[in-house]
Symmetry: C2
Amino acid sequence: MYAGAVQDLIDELGALPGVGPKGASRIAFHILNSPQADVERLISALGEVKRRVRFCERCFNIAEGPLCDICSDARRDQSLICVVEEPKDVVAIERTREYRGLYHVLGGAIDPIGGIGPDDLHIRELLGRLADGTVKEVIIATDPNIEGEATATYLARQLRALEIPVTRLASGLPVGGDLEYADEITLSRALEGRRSL
Amino acid sequence: MYAGAVQDLIDELGALPGVGPKGASRIAFHILNSPQADVERLISALGEVKRRVRFCERCFNIAEGPLCDICSDARRDQSLICVVEEPKDVVAIERTREYRGLYHVLGGAIDPIGGIGPDDLHIRELLGRLADGTVKEVIIATDPNIEGEATATYLARQLRALEIPVTRLASGLPVGGDLEYADEITLSRALEGRRSL
């Protein structure tokens, strides 16, 4: 155990995701040895995020105004909505520079074990956005794991009544990967989804 | 790239030791979703460490007053000084509950490649503490790596003139370890330091 203030900081840092007790004490000593100005920048960045960042009123992506940068951009294709679990998924898809439509961030995935049901996600708001007929396709881009698949299946069923085409990102072998090392499920998905050349 | 404040926070977090870009964005989103009170506790812990914590005037361990808890404790054996590289080494040795003497924190180890020479460490202050004849033994507990060994050798040479016994922590096989997996250097140190039973 360290003296009071250092141990307090180690405790707070250790509560962050992915930071274990060793990492927390390493960061605490780094802070102790850092110039005051560096620590003030970190403190202010923490405060600013809580003060300035909120969620987009339409798509629940992160935003610094009522709407996020993407929803405020009139050049984006208003007839396409890509449904993702988290704001970081928006960033991942934006990085491809292949998608010009809008997003809808669910805020997670259906996970009965973790106690997350459809009502805990922004699904009602998604249905609301589809009501006026502007949207011509919904692309479901939830994670390719059990929770993400369950969420995709649930959404597809909900959207069937609206008669809007619903698609799902392809599952298969990662580009640059090695067939030999692919797990069985990925490989069987890749077989299922095979395309003619 | 995220919106301004989130990216700023990711940049600041990513500059901390052991936090990569993925870890930084994971922590940033955790902060975004945390209750305001939790983030304020983290912010205040960061500020308090810089405000309250300083280094002990005598041994350079962390302290919240002029002297650290150990130097202020009259029950500690004033005739023994254990020399370590960093305050976290003090904590490691305290955890054994085997040592009742004082410490001296060098603030690092001699590392010519990293540009750290003897004058960058608190060696002069250590020699000052040994001048009045109270100290009867100096235990050198620098890390068992190249820099720590170089520092130990340098210190032993400096202290020879003072005719105070200087000892070094034993190197050898870690307790609970497996001989088969020990590296050659550790194993040859263990052989060298073998003791009669």
